[in-house]
Amino acid sequence: MLRALAPLLVLAATLVAAADDGLSRVRSTKVMRWGCDVSGGAPFAFPDPSDPDRVIGFEVEIAEELARRLGGRAERFSADWLALIDALEADRCDVLINGFEVTAERKRVVSFSTPYFRYAQQLVVRSEDRDRFTSLADLTGRPIAVLNGSASIESLDAAGVPPSLIVQYDDSLAPFTETILGRVDACLQESFISRFFAGHDPRLALVDATFDPGVYAVVVRKGDAALLNELNAALAGMQADGTLGRILQRWGLWDDAQPALGTQRGPVVATIPEAQGTPPEDGLPWTLVLWSLARAATMTALLTVVSMPIATLAGLLLAIAILHGPKPLSRICHAYVLVTRGTPLLVQIFLLYYSLPALGAWLGIPELLTWNKVVVGIVCLAANYAAYEAEIHRAALQAIPRSQWDAARALGFTRWQTLRFIVVPQSWRLSLPAIINDLNSLIKDSSLVSMIGVQELLAVALGIGKASFAVPSMLVAAAAFYLVLSLLADWFGQSLERRARAVRALPEPIHR
């Protein structure tokens, strides 16, 4: 009896789940939100070196085609690669398309579509080592660089390479540059990445033999069955009619391994220039690049300019509450300062950003879910810095002599009037230099919000740098922009200090 009912129960459960699943969302909004990390580098999804505001890559094209076939348009959601699965689970996007290898481990937390790409692992060594290292076995006991979180790690693991010799990097370009520099003796990545980065570089050589093939697939939330079915149908269509084959050819990714997935090559298409990778000596389009950096610097400035005044004011209120508030409030505020200062800003940004949807659902404020990343970033920076500013204000408030309080009390000022008109105006002058110092730190700390995908200065510079083999020069350019922002902050701080030092002639402007 129960047995007979089981399929019905599953069906019912599916129907209930389907009521507000990814597919109906995509259908009703006509938008497929797809997640990726644009700083992960070419050829996945990366800033176009000749127009860094545009994101290009073979996965951009796959996402756009899939969205079209699902009856909508693609909307990109960017976040740090390691945060993408959390972002998917927090419903910040509907799917992930960003070189996610299908692994048993991941299958436990998410579902995968049918694969859209097949790769194998390929070693890259320095060209002078071309004949010395022709297989993994030749590299026994030598350090090998990989991209963190990638399948290359498992391949090395399976081959018995000890963890101490597997050197992980945050992006796919770094393993190659580290090999060139000699910090490692080889790097292992997917064959097409090795071709893309090392194929044109005379300092590097590809080791011919590839091994440990694997596949990339679209990631969806577990239980998002309806969306998964539609995605699979759309993918099958793209594979059969040559659309996928065309995209892979355009990006120079077509090889003999692809037909094994059922992908038709379709008509022969030439590889586009963006897929070749341009070495730095060919030159960056500096006008465009600087323009992009300038705009990213505006984002950094915005984050700072909005969060620092909030942090300063909130810090002052915290300090006053700690020193003069009723005991319970004072305790709570003190605990807030201790916890906030004692935990990494990065963790706070992550926790807030990815717990907002759940928090919104719990509080019955669904708007929290759609809170702009920039707003979340500003809230995090302000909340974190408020704790530091609170300590600065506290020290300054305590530095105001008791005799000032006595004089004010004797004149009939209340406690709050004394704080407002006498103590804070004086402590403010004491705390200002330290606050301006923190303003300078904040400019640079603001780059941490790129972890949730805010395109600020450092993220944009790294994105362009990785896409065009120019990470060092882009970092120097970004540093120059940071320096300018920092000098501006100092100049602003000095004028504030000058104003704060000036005595006020009158308690408030006289209106005659």
Partner: protein, 247 residues
């Protein structure tokens, strides 16, 4: 008998570590008189003055300002209305460093009494004039000498038009030159009919010339009090004689 401007009865006070500092001190300051508190260093004069200024609560005893119970059993705790009817000039001037001299004086009339800025400034100028410091109004407190600062601090207290002005050795932090300057102003204030003052002072010349009555504190107790005329005759009290001899 008229209501005294300030009246204290049975004030006792002990500090946590120091022990008893004041024991059963009673005093009475008539309106429009100048009352001197004298006694050697550490005898409890400042402590008594802070109690009278309602800045520190006495452990026992009561204080009445213009007949209104301000401290002691049944008093409303630290009523700012009562507190501001007592002006205080401390040993250190403690000017507000972020304001000009004039703004230092005008701030409380404006913020505490709620006068509009124009009236507050008018009052501040009059108060500065009384201490011969009108010309210092635009100065930064750091640009004032110690004596000038103390005069501005007096003006700041006077601008609130207090019932009683309490002065705690306003010259103790000053060198002799500046002391003379401040004492001259204090004397003018004291001789100005209409001011009620309690002055803690070491300067017997000032006390005999400007004060009407005195209390002599010794080890936290009021040993002798009365009209300043009594200070002329020796042999009333050994401690007082010894004190007078020293100063």
């Amino acid at each position: 008998m008229t209501t005294p401007a300030l009246e204290a009865q049975g004030i006792s006070k002990r500090w946590p570590r120091t022990g008893a500092v004041l024991e059963d001190c009673s005093l009475r300051v008539e309106r429009r008189t100048v009352h001197a508190l004298i006694g050697s260093s550490g005898s409890g004069k400042s402590t008594l003055l802070r109690c009278l200024a309602l800045l520190d609560p006495p452990d026992s005893g009561s204080i009445r300002v213009d007949g209104v119970l301000a401290a002691g059993e049944g008093a409303v705790a630290a009523d700012p209305n009562l507190r501001r009817s007592i002006g205080v000039v401390f040993q250190e001037p403690s000017l507000f460093t972020h304001l000009t001299a004039l703004a230092n004086v005008a701030l409380a009339p404006h913020r505490v009494l709620g006068l509009d800025p124009g009236d507050a400034h008018e009052r501040a100028r009059r108060a500065l004039d009384r201490v011969h410091a009108l010309h210092l109004g635009d100065r930064h407190p750091e640009a004032l000498s110690g004596g000038e600062r103390q005069r501005v601090a007096m003006a700041r207290a006077l601008a609130m038009e207090p019932t009683v002005l309490l002065c705690d050795e306003p010259t103790s932090a000053l060198d002799p030159m500046l002391t003379r300057e401040v004492m001259a102003v204090l004397r003018d204030l004291a001789l100005d009919a209409g001011t009620t003052m309690v002055v803690v002072s070491h300067d017997m010349e000032f006390v005999t010339a400007a004060a009407d009555s005195f209390d002599f504190l010794h080890a936290g107790r009021i040993r002798i009090s009365g009209s300043v005329d009594r200070l002329g005759t020796r042999g009333v009290d050994d401690e007082l004689d010894r004190f007078l001899q020293r100063s």
